[in-house]
């Protein structure tokens, strides 16, 4: 072999060459001092790296720290889960109590608001019908409001999903 098989030397050291490649490198190493020196250096370097990092150890208290963080996280998530289940139940209960106490007043208030909305819609439709120029701004406003509410809803749903 006339060329130095430099690109194979590392794989040779790691015994990751196939039989033919390995034989080729070995034949070259018998004649080439420079490649032999490289292989010797690579083996020595590998041993040094393994030796150095075998001595690197994690701090003794790391395991306790990790387990403590896990315990804290699971406790807080249990509280959050319990909290998220209790809040809607509490809300429903409060609504039932309020309705049983102020039920009649609430029904009257609701029918009054409904009548007010119906009247407002009736008046608005008449005004718009009598002034056709108002159609365009009203439609624009309606489309704008729909878009804004749609975007807000999307943002709320995304933030609650995270």
């Amino acid at each position: 072999m006339s060329d130095h098989p430099t690109e194979w030397l590392s794989a040779y050291v790691d015994q990751e060459l196939d039989a033919a490649e390995r034989e080729q490198v070995e034949r070259h190493l018998e004649q080439c001092e420079s490649c032999l020196a490289t292989v010797t250096d690579l083996i020595e370097m590998q041993a040094q790296i393994a030796h150095f990092y075998r001595q690197v150890e994690a701090p003794e208290d790391l395991e306790q720290t990790i387990m403590k963080v896990l315990d804290t996280e699971s406790t807080s998530s249990t509280i959050t889960r319990a909290g998220s289940a209790v809040i809607p139940l509490f809300g429903v209960a409060a609504l039932i109590v309020l309705f049983s106490i102020y039920g009649s007043i609430l029904v009257k208030l609701f029918s009054f608001v409904l009548q007010l909305v119906i009247t407002a819609a009736y008046v608005m439709s008449h005004v718009i019908a009598s002034v056709p120029a108002l159609w365009i701004p009203v439609m624009g406003l309606a489309v704008g409001l729909t878009l804004i509410s749609g975007l807000s809803l999307r943002r709320i749903l995304r933030s609650s999903a995270q």
């Binding site: 794989a11 370097m45 393994a50 150095f52 150890e57 994690a58 701090p59 790391l62 387990m67």
Partner: protein, 182 residues
């Protein structure tokens, strides 16, 4: 890897904390060693190790089979180290840090020439590119074979072979340079 370990991994997957604590005990040095090798800083390596195990605990139920636990854990810590290195690069104080690391290197040079010692393997590794450092650590420290490295890094075996070769030759050159400077 033995049956006992697979049983512990299965139990940890079911959310048993005692089993997970055994996994932490067994693999903390493994994770920390790699993080320290990549980041060269004990505090940062500690943070990454902690982060890696928390991620591991959260994602463990999604691990498809317990046989691939080690390479899966390795992938978690590799990704975290890459994120930390990227964050480091983005930091505004980067020039200061670079100057500091240059100062550290020159201090190390002075120290070592004074003590008439060779460049340590750690100092030399720090000067390699993250890709080169990573592949050397995966093979020589974590004990992965070429095929396993290829799967973990999602690159062809041929690339593993050439990258590891280039990394080692670069390391050899750095160490030789260190010797010449003394």
């Amino acid at each position: 890897m033995d049956e006992e370990l697979y049983r512990i991994i299965r139990e940890a997957k079911q959310g048993k904390k005692d089993a997970f604590a055994i996994l932490v005990r067994r693999f903390k040095d493994y994770v920390y060693r790699y993080a320290y090798g990549m980041l060269g800083d004990r505090m940062e390596a500690e943070d990454v190790t902690q982060e890696a195990f928390l991620k591991c605990y959260a994602a463990l139920p999604r691990l498809e089979n317990e046989f691939s636990f080690v390479s899966w854990l390795q992938r978690i810590v590799s990704n975290l180290c890459s994120d930390h290195l990227k964050k480091r690069q983005k930091e505004k104080t980067k020039p200061i840090q670079e100057t500091l690391s240059q100062m550290e290197i020159s201090e190390a040079r002075q120290r070592h020439s004074a003590q008439d010692l060779k460049w340590t393997i750690e100092e030399s590794l720090k000067q390699l590119s993250p890709d080169h450092r990573q592949i050397i650590l995966l093979h020589d420290v974590q004990g992965f074979r070429y095929e396993e490295i290829a799967q973990t890094l999602e690159i062809p075996v041929g690339t593993v072979k050439s990258r590891l070769n280039a990394a080692r030759l670069a390391l050899r050159q750095i160490m030789k340079k260190g010797e010449e400077e003394e």
